[in-house]
Each structure stands twice: as structure tokens, then as C-alpha cells.
Symmetry: C2
Subunit: 291 residues, 2 copies
């Protein structure tokens, strides 16, 4: 059932990596730019896939959509690099490979993350993306999704949560994840409508539910997965005494919540008809990764 | 002679700080957003001043120019926060105050820097800035000036230079500083012309010379200044055995080079006539800070 989706995801990830190679090879090769190229390799590139699929639904071809797809992946990758730093989550493994500060050093990791964020804003502003209206809209919405009112705000809440697990509720975790993971996933799914200058609200509703389902799946993976399939350390949340959807809802409750959210995500796409099949499969896929 | 300029610089810095307060108070108040507000306070805000003065020369009022002025200062401030981290320059004092990782912690410093970079790209994309063409142009040029081909590239070279001082030449330091300090100063000075949709090349030539003069002055200050007037640790370059304009040209030679560059900067503004007096004074000011 998911063969078409799986192939499409793999194909998209390959295209995005190829474009990153081209763009990053245009910079002078120093450890920071080498680390950037290293960091964007691997991974499923779900955010980039959402951009390209959302764009296709709105009649926008991949030659234009590839740029905001790279922007979403550049923001995501920068946040992983900085999250992995010793002063943050202190992870030595990412996508099955040594993290940047392990392979190079911390300074290189800080700068490579910084420059990947900058690259994201260059990607959405490039003339190839479309009209100036579209590019300014993508830049503004990406900044809002990823900054102190979006992704970074979620990360800040996450740091605070490590010391406040007793007061955590499903609502507070929802609030945290809506920003930490959800905001960029939502921007990615909406970008296609923005590229077409059309209303992104249906894709917004889809990705809002998808983002939460994704995070619940991630929490389940942290409990049930093993290091070989996940490609990063597992069981860290429990070790840190961190409240997660699993610790608050139980494994069974978390799975049910994720299934409900996937149904909700698919419903939001009903008016797109059959064209949205690939995005529906994507929603099922995010929770199928482990159950 | 510099009274008008001094007052103008102070006035502009005040306006920029007031706008930062307003924008940053709109975010949920957590340590990261509090650290962002703390970090943008103080300093001369030379980059913001260059934006606003360059804009005035092109008939653009401060209500529009304040946004790219904040963007330049947000990028500058984020780079200082990350530069001060223990894994980079390991500074505990900035603008006479404890650095973010000292006052809060390293994770807060990483995230506050990250979110200030994002904020910069939000500032240039805001509808108040002007037409979509102008906003997309400012976003693209800012990304190119501050990323892996601009400021961060300069920082990467700077890290490498700490271990390669024997091979340093005036040309290699020029190349390093043109990116590390120069690119953002140049973007700041050019932003006014971009706001007006006009050719930024005269302001570009001015700021190219200004940026180098500024860095030479900074190197001299590191040798001659004291911690009270500079507001940060001094003598660090020599302690690190780092090649600077002073170590390569001598104090006298460095001073002469800075004076020549100021003259060059002022010449580039000749076609603006008397209107550019404030920018000419700014050029003199950057080297008058200490001699």
C-alpha cells in the first residue's frame, strides 16, 4: 500500500540532497561548510517532502518547490545540530553518524548550525522561487514558524520542562510540541499553497494534526525503538524524567491519540480528493514507523 | 565637530532599542526571550545607524528604515552571543555586562542567538518595510552577507587563523575581515539604497572601506584599550598569538592604513554632497575611538 509513497519519499530526499550538494559546493570549502554538507545528508526529509507534495497539490512543479523544501530541511538540520550540543541534549549520534561536535568540534557545530539557518532564508528568497510577493511571504512565515514565537520557543519550553516534569499535563506538552516540532512541519505543508499564492488553511489543518502525531510517534519510538533503527540514542526522555505523551497517556493511550490525529489529518485533505493520496499516506507513515 | 554625529548616533541607538523592546515584549517571556532583550541593549548600534543614515540619503524615512536597522543589529548581536560562548572566544563580559552564558547558561545563549538571527529575517520581511520586491531583495542580500559566504565564513576563517598565525598576511587578514565584519557593515550601509530600489554601489564602496577601517581600529583597541572603556576583555589576540593588522603592520602602519581607508570611504560619498556629512563623520568616528 505504501510502496508509491515510500518511493516518492526516497526520490524526493535524493533530489533535495543533490540540490544541497550543488548549493553547498559553491561555498569556499572550510570545516564549517563541510560540516553543513555532512549534516544535510541522510534522514527521510519529511519536511521537504511535505513542501513538494503540498506544492504539487497547488500545481507548482518541483523546480520551484525544491527551494522552500531545502529551506525547511536547513532549518530542521540546524536545530538538530544545536540540539545535539553538549550544553543541550549532548548527543553523540544522529542519523546513525557521529554528531558535528563529535566529528569536528563545538565551535564548528555552532557555526554550521548558524549558517544552515541563514541558508534557509537565502533559499526562500531566491529569484527561482517565484514572485517577490511569494518570496517575501515565505520568508516572513518561515521566520515566524522557526523563531522565538515558534520552533525556538518550543525548544526553550523543552529545556524548562526537564526540571518541571511534575507539573506537566497533556495540554502543556501539546503547547510545547505545537511549537517545537509542529510549527516547522506546518510551515512545510503550507509552503506549497503559499507558492501558488493560495489559502494554506487546509494544509495547515492537516499538518497541525500531523505534527502532533509525529511527536507522539517520536515519544513511542524513544520507549520502544532501538538505537540501530532510530539512528540516535533512545530512552533518553525517561532517563531525564521528562514528561512525554507516553508518560502522560500510557503507551496504549498515546497510540490511540496518534491514530485519531492521523484520521483528523486525512479529513482535512478531503476537498483535495485523490490528488492528496500521497499526503494521506505520509500521515499514516509517521505513526507506522513503529506500530 | 562630531557633536551632531554623536547626538544622532545616540538618538538612533535609543530608537532601535525602543523598537526591540516593543517587538520582543510580544513574545512569551521565557529565559530565551529575556536573554534576547538583554543582549540587544547597549552598544553604539553603528550598523543600525548606517541603515538609517543610508536610507535618509535615499529619501526613506526612519519608520521604514528602522526594520532593516533592527535586522542588522539582530544579526550582529546573535554573532556576538555565539562568539562569546566557551567553545568559541569564551568571553564573560560584553558591553560591560556579563555575557548570556554567564548570566543564564550555554543552552540559553545558543537559543537566544538562534532566535535573534531568525528575528532579523522577520524584520526585513515585515510588510511595513516596503514593497515585496524590496523585502525579498533585503532578505536575500542579508542572507548572503551573513551566512556561509559572508559573516559566518569570516568567523570560520578566524577560528582557523588561531592555529595558523605564521602563514597570515595582510591580504589574508583583509580577506577574513571583509567577511567577518565587513559583509554585515556593507549590507547595513547599502540597505537604504535597497529600500529605495536604487543602486547601492556608492554606499557599498563607502562601507567596504569603512568595514576594514573599523576592524583595524578594533585591533588597535585590543592592544591599547583598557577593559573599562572597551567593555570587554582586551589583549586577547596577542595572548592567543593571533595575527592582526597591528601585528602585521605595526601600530603606526595600522593607524595610517585606517586613515587612508577613512579617506577612501569619504571619497566614495562625494556625489551625495553635503547630505552625506553624517556618514563621513561616522567614518572618522570609527577610527577616532582611540586615536
Amino acid at each position: 500500500m505504501y510502496k508509491a509513497f515510500d518511493e516518492s519519499l526516497t526520490d524526493t530526499a535524493g533530489q533535495i540532497e543533490k540540490h544541497f550538494e550543488r548549493v553547498l559546493s559553491s561555498f569556499d570549502q572550510v570545516p564549517v561548510t563541510q560540516a553543513m554538507a555532512y549534516a544535510v545528508r541522510g534522514g527521510k526529509k519529511l519536511r521537504g517532502f511535505l513542501v513538494i507534495e503540498g506544492a504539487r497539490l497547488h500545481g507548482i512543479n518541483v523546480e520551484r518547490a525544491i527551494w522552500p523544501a531545502m529551506a525547511a530541511e536547513a532549518i530542521h538540520t540546524y536545530s538538530l545540530i544545536h540540539d545535539d550540543l553538549p550544553c543541550m541534549d549532548d548527543d553523540s549520534l544522529r542519523r546513525g553518524q557521529p554528531t558535528i561536535h563529535v566529528k569536528w568540534d563545538e565551535a564548528t557545530a555552532v557555526l554550521a548550525g548558524d549558517a544552515l539557518q541563514t541558508l534557509a532564508f537565502e533559499m526562500v528568497a531566491r529569484p527561482e522561487v517565484g514572485s517577490a510577493d511569494v518570496r517575501a511571504d515565505l520568508g516572513l512565515s518561515l521566520a515566524r514558524a522557526s523563531g522565538a514565537g515558534g520552533m525556538v520557543y518550543g525548544q526553550a519550553l523543552d529545556i524548562a520542562a526537564e526540571t518541571e516534569s511534575l507539573s506537566a499535563t497533556v495540554e502543556s506538552i501539546n503547547h510545547l510540541q505545537k511549537h517545537k516540532t509542529g510549527a516547522l512541519i506546518q510551515w512545510s505543508a503550507e509552503a506549497g499553497a503559499r507558492l501558488a499564492g493560495e489559502d494554506p488553511s487546509r494544509l495547515g489543518a492537516y499538518s497541525h494534526a500531523l505534527g502532533l502525531a509525529f511527536q507522539i510517534a517520536d515519544d513511542i519510538l524513544d520507549v520502544e525503538g532501538d538505537i540501530d533503527t532510530v539512528g540516535k540514542a533512545v530512552g533518553k526522555d525517561a532517563d531525564l524524567g521528562k514528561a512525554t505523551f507516553v508518560s502522560l497517556l500510557g503507551l496504549k493511550g498515546a497510540r490511540q491519540r496518534a491514530r485519531d490525529l492521523v484520521a483528523e489529518a486525512c479529513d482535512a485533505l478531503s476537498s483535495y480528493g485523490k490528488d492528496a493520496e500521497c499526503l494521506r499516506q505520509a500521515a499514516h507513515f509517521v505513526i507506522l514507523r513503529q506500530f
